[in-house]
């Protein structure tokens, strides 16, 4: 099919599909009139049952914890998949790429101001990320959001031009182990619950509502998710950057 034919055919189908969609959503409850009951039950029960104040975290890590385990596994497998797909073939390792130092050598190094600003932000970003991860059960945020923030901190090192340091951080075995331990921790904490009758059931004291160490397993699951997400995102980024870094390091040398 030519692009024009596609445009026409899609124009007709898309318009019809959109019409059906509009006709259908007219029957939905009007915007702003959520009717429940699922969410309302959870809003009512969560603080009482689980001693945590952020219901969204409770949904993610307790009520519907298996969803999150599935999602963690998706992230984990996609990291593995990205590494598999971007792996360098044999012929590249053997120096065929040395020739391409030419076009890449002219990439300018960041200015001093950028370097100072970027490196100066690393510390606060790590602290901020850790805060978001550990307070996920109390206030908005949690393992995902904090994990992503943590993963961006090493990238600032890259932006600052400290390629070797970045490589040392991102390519470290520590990242891989943290990834596997993060998701493995989630899986393992779930097994703790089996002793009490069901997978992912809370097996720890609930603590006082509003305290940092409260909510039983939710806190631990949150932290392990944070570790898995941070390491996973960093690995993906590194998989995209690896080749470039090698080339730039070589051209600098």
């Amino acid at each position: 099919m030519t692009i024009t034919a596609r445009r026409w055919l899609f124009g007709v189908c898309g318009a019809a599909l959109f019409t059906i969609f509009i006709l259908a959503v007219r029957e939905l409850p009007q915007f702003g009139h959520y009717r429940g009951p699922y969410g309302d039950v959870l809003n009512r029960e969560t603080v009482y049952e689980r001693h945590v104040t952020d219901v969204v975290s409770a949904v993610n890590f307790d009520w519907r914890g298996i969803d999150t385990l599935g999602e963690e596994s998706i992230l984990f497998l996609s990291v593995v998949g990205t590494i598999v797909l971007l792996r360098t073939g044999d012929e590249e390792v053997q120096g065929k790429d040395n020739e391409d130092a030419g076009p890449n050598a002219d990439i300018p190094l960041p200015s001093d101001a950028t370097r100072v600003a970027a490196l100066g932000l690393v510390g606060p970003l790590v602290v901020f990320g850790l805060y978001i991860v550990t307070h996920g059960h109390l206030s908005p945020g949690g393992g995902f959001q904090g994990g992503v923030v943590l993963a961006t901190a090493p990238l600032l090192v890259y932006v600052a031009g400290a390629l070797k340091t970045f490589k040392r951080i991102a390519n470290h075995q520590f990242v891989e182990i943290m990834e596997a331990l993060g998701i493995g921790g989630f899986l393992g904490i779930g097994f703790l619950g089996m002793a009490r009758g069901a997978y992912l059931r809370n097996a720890l004291p609930l603590g006082t509502t509003g305290h940092l160490f409260s909510g039983g397993t939710i806190f631990l699951l949150n932290v392990s998710t944070g570790a898995a997400v941070a390491a996973g995102m960093l690995s993906v980024m590194y998989a995209f950057l690896e080749h470039t870094i090698e080339v730039r390091l070589r051209s600098k040398a």
């Binding site: 969204v56 992503v148 961006t152 995102m233």
Partner: protein
């Protein structure tokens, strides 16, 4: 519906359309980042701070970054080809 919700919704629709219709991937990445922020704002207005936070970190920072890295990588591959085998044959990125 309050005015601000309507405005930002229409804005969401318009930016989304613009991202999908932009042909140049580099411009598109910038649009996507902007779109991520607008979506984050919309989620914030819908009383979803958790989602807004992750939308802004992932949708407005990580995703555009991944696209930039991929585009850069493709561009370098194209340069390499053109500089080593067939000069002027880089048709990777328009």
């Amino acid at each position: 519906m309050p005015f601000i919700q309507v405005t930002i919704l229409i804005f969401v629709g318009m930016t989304g359309t613009a991202v999908a219709l932009t042909r140049n991937p580099v411009h598109q990445v910038i649009g996507l980042s902007f779109y991520g922020i607008i979506l984050g704002l919309f989620f914030f207005i819908l009383q979803a701070p958790d989602v807004a936070l992750s939308q802004i970190t992932i949708g407005a920072v990580v995703l555009p970054l991944m696209f930039m890295l991929a585009l850069g990588k493709i561009r370098r591959q194209a340069q390499r080809k053109s500089s080593t085998d067939h000069p002027g044959n880089a048709r990777g990125v328009q």
